[in-house]
Symmetry: C2
Subunit: 354 residues, 2 copies
């Protein structure tokens, strides 16, 4: 069986870690022999944009639709305003391919630790389900009186019954699939009294269909306190596009490093390819130095493999990652002294033992 | 000299800690003998609302304008939807009285510690300057097709040149007044491409007037990572209404407890009274039990006293608070075993030594 993967390395360390991830994925298929990957790489990046004036060609989104999945590195580069780069590449893909769910698991890998003094490995095991298609990332809004002293700009967050309901159902299904069957819904409906109130309402509507899932509701500000002071009290979390963006970075930091955190942009209907990317950015400061932590990229690759139905391979890759961190083969952000290549070699070696 | 203080205890533990704070303030004036407080208490609360149907009377905001300052406890109660209670009380006050700045200092008190393993007391000393009049708290937006399967709701964030410029100037002045002269600006202008881009632009414009202040820019998601992993790299922080709401709760948690964190809602023009409140909420679960941590209320009171020009009294109160926590007289959230009264008594005793 051949899985066709569209690869978009993008910018900065996105290039380093995508290379590492494809090496690991190829090793996995070579060792397991039950499937193959057919990678196609797209040079849609800020570097290319600066040279030729565009990220994706006009039919870029249609090209992507032909693949089974998309693997994404990172986008963003100092010479291009961030809102240009992101709205030219990652955000249109998430939206056009109906990837309305972004799943962000967080846990503390063996051989690593939380920066929190009292947080042991088993104390932190979360899945953040992020709404990925609307909310604060609708792109709507504008500016009037630009360049004047009375300029006024707006950001318009859009929340729809349909959009909220589908993310809630996904979150409840996720919570249900986990041992604790516990879902925490995050909101800011005290200060934001329109869209966030609808968000709350739909949550309670959908909850009725999941009597076996226990629920609670948190305001996003108080949620950060709970994540820091009572990590064990949380399991599955559902939040808006922006809230979950913030909380998932915090979650990654509390699990030790943003460098290990994976994310899956899913179209649960499977009508379009889903996209897998580490949650870290392009990290211009360390780009090209070969020292980026590739674990977030490998974990994202494992999620991709699982989505493709290759459960054994996904489990194997996760085991390889765990064995490597457990053995202390880690980059600097995790307190180790290895570089990208060192960690990648170690993971490949572990895969060969599968 | 008499300082006229409007007191709004509000809901839940707001009542407990406002009582404690007025006791401490009265002790302070009795001991120092250089000024007096004249407190007027307003029963504007959710309890009153449930009885009589309103929080503030129609001329409530005008009544408040007659005072030198406002002391606020907390608002929010399970029997009233949060967006009703907040938009009936705290948010209209902040807006109508032009309290466009919300200052939120964070540090680790003597005798207490951060939940972060490697964070010593001197490693965390931040001031968050929060935009308090517009942005995500504009209140604008609405809902269409309510109660239908295709309901659509919006939250509209408003950012104005005037609103951004004044908060940036306040933030730069704050940064300049501190030894490190360092300001970190928080944004999400990669995903939010209208108002947040204006936010960034005005920041760089204003920065030109403060060449002695060093600056950097962070995306709000990455900012949480930096707060957790590199707390020492931060000093003064400026962020939007929502971003700073989230970051200041996180900051409080990282300093040990949300129960110690103060906030000042300032009208820097001094044309309207400013308002001082701990950042914690009404905490229905522990309301009326006499166990709330009053330190955030005392610290907020100290900020109020400083705003009133009583510098010696403000320093004295902060010293009293520090001596009490240093002596281990603390509530449970800080790892102690005292109740509200115990801590309040101890602070009053320390004040008597001034
Ligand atoms: C790059 C950026 C648009 C993105 C986001 O905000 O969604 C990133 O922070 C993420 O979390 O995936
Ligand atoms: C009570 C609520 C409106 C408030 C806010 O979000 O501003 C609170 O969380 C705060 O931080 O002061």
């Amino acid at each position: 069986k051949v899985h066709r993967v569209a690869c978009i390395p993008g910018d900065g360390i996105g290039v380093d870690i995508t290379e590492a991830a494809t090496r690991v994925l190829n090793t996995l298929s070579t060792v397991l022999k039950t499937f193959e990957f057919d990678f196609t790489t797209f040079d849609w990046s800020s570097k290319a944009y600066l040279e030729r004036g565009w990220y994706m060609p006009p039919d870029g989104l249609d090209q992507l639709k032909k693949y089974d999945v998309i693997y994404f590195g990172a986008v963003g580069w100092p010479d291009v305003p961030d809102h240009i780069s992101l709205w030219s590449l990652i955000l249109p893909i998430r939206k056009a391919l109906n990837q309305y769910v972004n799943v962000r698991p967080t846990s503390i890998l063996p051989g690593t630790k939380s920066p929190l003094a009292d947080c042991k490995r088993e104390d932190l095991d979360w899945v953040i389900v992020r709404e990925n298609s609307e909310g604060e990332y609708s792109g709507q809004g504008g500016i009037s009186h630009e360049h004047s002293e009375h300029a006024v700009a707006t950001e318009v967050s859009i929340f729809t019954q349909v959009g909220i309901e589908r993310i809630m159902r996904f979150a409840f299904d996720t919570a249900r699939s986990r041992p604790r069957k516990k879902l925490t819904m995050v909101t800011k409906s005290n200060a934001q009294r329109h869209g966030m109130v609808l968000w709350d309402k739909v949550f309670y509507q959908v909850a009725k269909d999941y009597p076996d899932v226990s629920t609670d509701k948190m305001l996003v500000d108080a949620m950060t306190v709970r994540m820091v002071l009572h990590p064990t009290s949380l399991d599955t979390i559902v939040a808006t596009n922006l809230h979950a963006d913030i909380l998932s970075d915090l979650a990654a930091a509390l699990s030790g490093s943003i460098g290990i955190a994976p994310s899956s942009n899913l179209d649960p209907t499977r009508k379009n390819p889903s996209m897998f990317e580490p949650i870290h950015g392009s990290a211009p400061d360390i780009a090209g130095k070969g020292i980026a932590n590739p674990i977030g990229a490998f974990w994202s690759a494992a999620e991709m493999v699982r989505w493709l139905g290759e459960t054994e391979a996904a489990d194997g890759l996760m085991k390889a990652i765990s064995n490597v961190t457990a053995a202390g083969v880690k980059t600097k952000d995790l307190g180790g002294s290895e570089d990208t290549k060192g960690v990648t070699n170690a993971v490949c070696k572990e895969i060969e033992k599968l």
